[in-house]
């Protein structure tokens, strides 16, 4: 997969969110987006996910224009902001319902994704009883379970303890090694420096490459 972001500007209600962003991203790499809150990291992810449309410029995925040739990237795993699931179902049931939308994977893959994210697939607790860390892990399991070609993770280590952070970083590297294009946004610079193959700083809507 190859993603080309060409001279993209995004304004929302006259506020400049992204300012002439140009990037080329390829499979098998982890791209880290670092920057303070409100700098435009999440908006850049929403743009690549097809959730928002550029005001100017274009996003191409394997040469096809997002928003014109396709509404969303064809194989996408997503964790943006706080994970949100149906509170009255267990974590596994929530993943089953999401997986059922595309029918690409079965019970085995769901169990593996949950285990890899540090969750027990046989846990009978409903989602509303989950701790913040467990909710975050379920969000990551949902993003990776279908082995997407494009993985967008916004603050993937939120609410996780030190061990959990390492576990999730290992999982993200495994996804990269599998061939996925991973974009991870985080305000923790040290963490991203250890994780990303290419590091970008996002500030006031501008994106600049930094040495990883």
């Amino acid at each position: 997969m190859r993603i080309e972001i060409r001279d993209v500007t995004k304004t929302i209600k006259s506020a400049l969110i992204l300012d002439r962003v140009t990037l080329t991203l390829e499979s098998g790499r982890i791209y880290g987006l670092q920057g303070p809150n409100g700098s435009g990291k999440t908006m850049l992810m929403r743009l690549v996910a097809g959730l928002i449309r550029p005001t100017k410029g274009e996003v191409l995925i394997d040469g096809r224009r997002l928003g014109r040739d396709m509404d969303f990237p064809p194989s996408l795993g997503l964790l943006i902001e706080n994970p949100a699931f149906l509170p009255e179902y267990t974590g596994k049931r929530n993943l089953e319902l999401l997986a059922g939308l595309q029918n690409r994977i079965g019970d085995g893959e769901i169990r593996t994704a949950m285990t890899d994210a540090g969750l027990d697939p046989d846990d009978r607790r409903k989602y509303r009883k989950y701790s913040l860390g467990m909710k975050q892990r379920l969000g990551i399991a949902a993003a990776v379970m279908e082995k997407p070609e494009l993985l967008l993770l916004d603050e993937p280590t939120n609410a996780l303890d030190e061990g959990g952070v390492e576990e999730i970083c290992r999982l993200i590297r495994r996804e990269r090694d599998r061939g996925a294009l991973v974009i991870a946004a985080c305000h923790d610079r040290e963490l991203l420096e250890g994780l990303a193959d290419e590091l970008y700083t996002v500030a006031e809507g501008r994106v600049e490459r930094r040495e990883a």
């Binding site: 929302i12 999440t42 908006m43 929403r46 996910a49 097809g50 959730l51 928002i52 449309r53 396709m70 509404d71 969303f72 990237p73 064809p74 996408l76 997503l78 943006i80 902001e81 949100a84 699931f85 149906l86 009255e88 929530n94 319902l97 999401l98 059922g100 939308l101 595309q102 949902a142």
Partner: protein, 283 residues
């Protein structure tokens, strides 16, 4: 295929968790009042009388009768508003939370929005089914008849001032004016409300629909969305014999125009949603 699965998600999340008791609770209060009044008058209301009472609305407002302008069909407005309130925020709530995971897997914005339209239609149908069940239960409690025919005595009791002796509605007319027309109107208004949510805040879209309902009380036209949902405005109930200003509108024409509004809202919604930014709660 994935569209059907998105619809299944909407039915699961949107129908099973909504506060559907609101609409039947409101009509229950109305039916109890009607039942009491009918009992006091020695009458037994039919199921049709119950529905006419809920969706009676108000007879055509005549310009030279100032009192008419002060009369508002509050019962009708409350019942109509309760259904709109139930349907108000599901689409945006879903989009803000777990719906984002659903829409990227659905991979089609149009498919996702159409699924919400079907949900809105079914949600309105569920409200009506709940109201009808409430009416049937009330009817049974008051020893009424489980038929759709409406009678002159009850219609006068319901508030039809201009109804003449010997008036009655057939079961088919009651079904069309007392059930089908309000349902189609509310389905169209819900669709309008949902489409407006793409342009403005849900509370504003709800208020716009309320203004439309109030406007329908004063504007006499089958093309004014809302008027067809008032049985008292049907040409079957308010015939031309008293003069053109007292005449009602065609129920079928009202239903047709409501359907046209619904289709237009779906088309506008699909086009608008293709360009809508899907943002988080904090954004």
């Amino acid at each position: 295929m994935s569209w059907i699965k998105v619809l299944a998600h909407d039915l699961r999340c949107g129908l099973l968790r909504r506060r559907y008791f609101l609409a039947p609770a409101l009509v229950l209060l109305a039916f109890l009042r009607l039942g009491e009044a009918a009992s006091a008058a020695g009458l037994s209301p039919s199921l049709g009388d119950m529905m006419l009472y809920a969706f009676g609305g108000i007879e055509p407002i005549v310009a030279n009768n100032l009192r008419d302008f002060l009369d508002m069909p509050f019962r009708w407005l409350l019942i109509m508003s309760s259904v709109l309130l139930i349907n108000l925020d599901y689409m945006l709530n879903d989009l803000t939370y777990s719906g984002q995971q659903v829409i990227v897997r659905c991979r089609s914005r149009s498919g996702w929005f159409l699924s919400k339209c079907v949900w809105s239609f079914l949600s309105t149908a569920l409200c009506f089914a709940a109201m009808l069940l409430t009416a049937a239960l009330c009817d049974a409690c008051f020893g009424g008849r489980l038929t759709l025919e409406s009678t002159f005595e009850l219609s006068r009791l319901i508030g039809g001032r201009y109804i003449t002796e010997g008036f009655s509605l057939t079961a088919w007319q009651t079904l069309a004016a007392g059930l089908a027309a309000p349902f189609v109107t509310l389905a169209a208004l819900s669709m309008l409300q949902m489409t407006l949510c793409l342009f403005t805040k849900p509370v504003v879209s709800f208020l716009i629909c309320q203004i439309q309902l109030i406007a329908a009380v004063f504007i006499k036209s089958p093309f004014c969305l809302g008027e067809g949902a008032m049985v008292m405005r049907s040409s079957w109930v308010a015939p031309n014999s008293l003069g053109p200003e007292y005449a009602g509108v065609s129920t079928y024409l009202s239903m047709g125009s409501a359907l046209a509004v619904a289709v237009l809202c779906v088309a506008v919604g699909v086009l608008k949603f293709r360009r809508t930014d899907i943002l988080g709660l904090e954004e």
